[in-house]
């Protein structure tokens, strides 16, 4: 009686779709960034550590950089901080921080206490810049290539796995584009 096999067959089909959904989710499935493959938003924002200078996207042209959205209020940011410090020590690609909807004094003491992995940190009190980047929640990390194109986006705390599999190969030119 094949008709009794039908529910099982449909379920197998569903499981395949869900499986694909999960496989996609770490990089694009969950919150597909409309920015992927497009130019990163231009910005000129107050600098957290050096009020005399702005953090500007124009200054970053021609280099790879990671754009990391964080805040002292965010648990995942505390979690990924050690990873960010490792990235800094590796010296492969600089990290630009976006301190999102945060208190400057608290952010500064966070960086003094835990170490500063950022080349520079821009502040975004109003949250407007984060909207430009389509940020869904902190932490989020974008990889921007020398042409200023966003080539990769990671949602959640940065993991060693993402670093070695997704970010490092792209920066070192083994992979281009956004898969």
């Amino acid at each position: 009686m094949t008709k009794f096999l039908l529910p099982l067959a449909l379920f197998v089909l569903l499981a395949v779709v869900l499986g694909i959904g999960i496989r996609h989710s770490p990089d694009k499935g969950i919150i597909a960034s409309p920015l992927l493959g497009k130019p990163a938003p231009a910005f000129a924002l107050p600098n957290l550590t050096d009020p005399s200078r702005e953090v500007r996207s124009a200054d970053l042209k021609g280099h790879w950089y990671l754009f990391n959205v964080w805040g002292t209020w965010c648990g995942g940011c505390r979690e990924e901080h050690e990873m960010l410090l490792q990235v800094r020590r590796a010296g492969v690609v600089p990290i630009i921080g976006l301190d999102w909807k945060d208190d400057d004094a608290q952010a500064l003491s966070w960086l003094t206490q835990l170490g500063n992995p950022y080349q520079s940190v821009a502040t975004d009190h109003s949250g407007r810049q984060a909207i430009e980047w389509g940020v869904y929640g902190a932490p989020e990390t974008f990889l921007v290539n020398p042409q200023g194109i966003v080539v990769y986006k990671h949602v959640g705390a940065l993991t060693p796995d993402t670093w070695t599999r997704e970010i490092l190969p792209r920066v070192s030119g083994m992979l281009t584009g956004s898969s």
Binding site: F4, L8, S25, A32, K101, G156
Partner: protein, 651 residues
């Protein structure tokens, strides 16, 4: 010490769940009755261990142990005690623990209530529940352990998500989960029946009260969630077709179908394989809902943390459980033969239509919920469907369902003699149409074409549902709780339809900008803005606006919506002000500070919206009444029936 104790108790619970599954399934299969007998001990042990783990975690919350990562993430020393307790299930890890606790509670209830079941069958039921429990305990320990320590400990916690700092958190998740998890019992009965190859209608009889009870809890839980979303989120709406809402609504629709199909299997021995499939599907949708919510494959207002490794674990578990059950079904269901027949106009036909329509409704919700995933898998780009898809497609299966309910309620089992009830049908319909349309025209004088249809259907259901009980009462016959419960639940459904129709047709929403002393007129009401004042709570500071509401010059209320700033999470939450007046629900939310004392204010007037939730509680009460019917109560006096014996089966 406390977290380690809890962790240890959870590990012991996992081992005991494993024993429960093993003894429960292997014992009867190998005819080792002593193994089967050991199942109840494993059930008791597991329940004690799970309760210990929950108590330990609660102790950590109450004692503000911020060295526990989960506590540090979801609590704060400024958080009031009430929320520190409820924060236990405020995030992923604790929600899972709550899930496991409730499953243990259902399992204990089944173990206690199974004294009249054949011992081997009871062991199998508990064994299947053990498999489910084992899976969830393993999932918690492997990917979502709430007892992990932080080194060094956090000086203070990051606080509970402000959206959750509401009394709703204390009741909504436990009740919703009780319903959700309760379908595991129907699943276990179906699984046990298939394992045993004993697919007579007994299992349906035994399953009915459990399924109905779970359904009642789920109904309550969904209504509470909707009510909470309405007054807390301040978006002005009580249903958003959000993936998380759908995740609880799909099992509800399937469970509703199951309740009706179980009735046919129990009373007439028909639809056996179909009922079996529904029992599997109702719980499968509960599991799938957990997967969708917890894996982060779908974005939703409710998902706080998304983690693909958790998703892979749940998917594997899903494949084992659902795939296993469906494979068992494909193997066993062909053995079933229905000998009895029924005529087209018989009650069986109407319940068949009921099932087809409810399953169709569940399928449309399912398709809409998974549409983003499917389009993504097929590389069609990210797509998500909202109310414009859900509302019409859902209505497409609901309208015929409601109409058929009013007709089918008069039908008899087996024989299709609709001529006998033709008169009743005609009279109730005319009365309903007059009352329904009269209401719409008399009170509101406008609205879409669906308004009179919805009102008429609702009134028709009430009248039709009352015909039989009133008839019995006049003839001095007793009305069983099962019939009374059914009547109450159907009336609840009618009230829901009526309220939804009214709300959908006559809601007024307006966003206005008001300076102090300024007024806005919305519907029959006038709102005078008195400016804002600062206010303070235990862990937040706020601005509170004052609005004086009048209707045709007569004072109605002074309402004070707030905008709260929670210190620890630096989150701004709009606290709506809600007031009932003559059946109208007035909702005010404070928007943005527009400078110079001007504020934007969202004003919404929804007629009869409270009835939507009241209706759900009426339905749940109906379910509770039906589940407590005498014929389901365990008969203690009777000696344990020998294996294979069939209880008497009065039609």
């Amino acid at each position: 010490m406390l977290p380690e104790l809890g962790h240890f108790a959870l590990i012991l619970a996992l081992l005991l769940a494993g024993l429960q599954a093993f003894f429960g399934i292997a014992g009867p299969a190998l005819a080792r009755d002593r193994w089967s007998g050991a199942v109840t001990s494993a059930v008791a042990g597991q329940a004690v261990m799970v309760a210990t783990a929950v108590a330990c975690l609660m102790g950590c919350f109450v004692g503000e142990d911020f060295s526990v990562a989960y506590v540090a993430e979801n609590s704060n020393s400024a958080l009031p005690l009430f929320y520190r307790v409820a924060a236990l299930w405020g995030a992923h890890e604790g929600s899972l623990l709550l899930w496991i606790l409730l499953l243990a509670a259902w399992t204990v209830a089944v173990a206690l209530g199974s004294s009249r079941l054949p011992p081997r069958f009871a062991a199998r039921v508990l064994g299947v529940l053990g498999v489910v429990s084992f899976g969830f305990l393993l999932f918690t320990l492997a990917t979502s352990n709430p007892f992990l320590r932080l080194d060094p400990p956090a000086p203070d916690g990051r606080d509970l998500n402000p959206i959750l700092q509401d009394p709703g958190l204390a009741v909504h998740p436990p009740i919703l989960y009780t319903g959700y998890v309760g379908f595991a019992v129907a699943f276990a009965f179906a699984g046990a029946a298939m394992l045993e190859g004993r697919l007579d209608q007994n299992w349906a009889r035994w399953t009915r009260p459990w399924t109905t009870a779970a359904w009642s809890f789920l109904t309550c839980g969904i209504a509470l969630g909707s009510f909470w979303a309405y007054y807390e989120l301040g978006w002005g709406g009580f249903w958003f077709w959000d993936p998380v809402e759908n995740a609880s609504f799909m099992p509800w629709l399937m469970g509703t179908a199951l309740i009706h199909s179980l009735a046919v299997t129990d009373k007439r021995g028909l639809f056996k394989s179909w009922t079996l499939l529904l029992a599997i599907l109702a719980f499968s949708l509960s599991l799938l809902g957990t997967f969708l919510v917890r894996s982060g494959v779908l974005v939703s207002v409710h998902s706080f943390a998304a983690d693909p490794t958790r998703g892979i674990f749940i998917l594997t578990f899903l494949i084992i459980m659902i795939g296993g059950a469906l494979a068992l079904y494909a193997w066993r269901a062909p053995l079933l033969r229905s000998s009895a027949g029924f005529e087209l106009g018989a009650r069986e036909s109407f319940l068949l239509f009921n099932n087809v329509l409810l399953v169709t409704a569940a399928a449309t919700v399912f398709a809409g919920t998974l549409a983003p995933l499917i389009s993504d898998a097929l590389k069609l780009g990210t797509l998500s469907v909202g109310p414009p898809y859900f509302n019409p497609t859902f209505m497409l299966s609901m309208l015929p369902l409601l109409a058929l309910l009013s007709v089918g309620i008069h039908a008899n089992w087996k024989r299709g003699r609709l001529e006998d009830s033709q008169r009743t049908l005609l009279y109730t319909f005319i009365a309903a149409a007059v009352l329904g349309c009269g209401f719409v025209i008399g009170l509101y004088s406008h609205g879409s074409v669906l308004t009179p249809i919805g009102a008429t259907l609702a009134v028709w259901i009430v009248l039709s549902s009352l015909v039989d009980p009133i008839d019995r009462w006049r003839r001095g016959l007793t009305i069983s709780r099962a019939v009374l419960g059914m009547t109450v639940a159907h009336i609840g459904l009618a009230v829901a339809v009526f309220a939804l129709t009214t709300v959908q047709s006559f809601t007024i929403e307006r966003d206005v900008s008001l300076a102090p002393g300024g007024t806005a007129t919305v519907g029959d009401y006038e709102f005078r803005f008195g400016g804002v004042k600062p206010a303070e709570g235990p862990n937040y500071e706020a601005v509170a606006g004052t609005l004086t509401v009048t209707r045709h010059g007569a004072p109605v209320a002074v309402m004070t919506p707030q905008k709260r700033h929670y210190w620890v999470q630096r989150q701004v939450i709009s606290e709506t002000a809600i007031r009932m007046h003559r059946g109208n629900n007035l909702l005010l939310a404070l928007g943005e500070d527009l400078g110079a004392g001007r504020w934007s204010v969202r004003i919404q007037i929804r007629p009869l919206v409270s009835l939507v939730w009241i209706a759900a509680f009426i339905m749940a009460m109906g379910g509770a009444l039906a589940a407590s019917d005498r014929r389901y109560r365990p008969v203690r006096a009777r000696a344990t029936a020998p294996e294979g014996a069939t209880a008497g089966q009065p039609g």
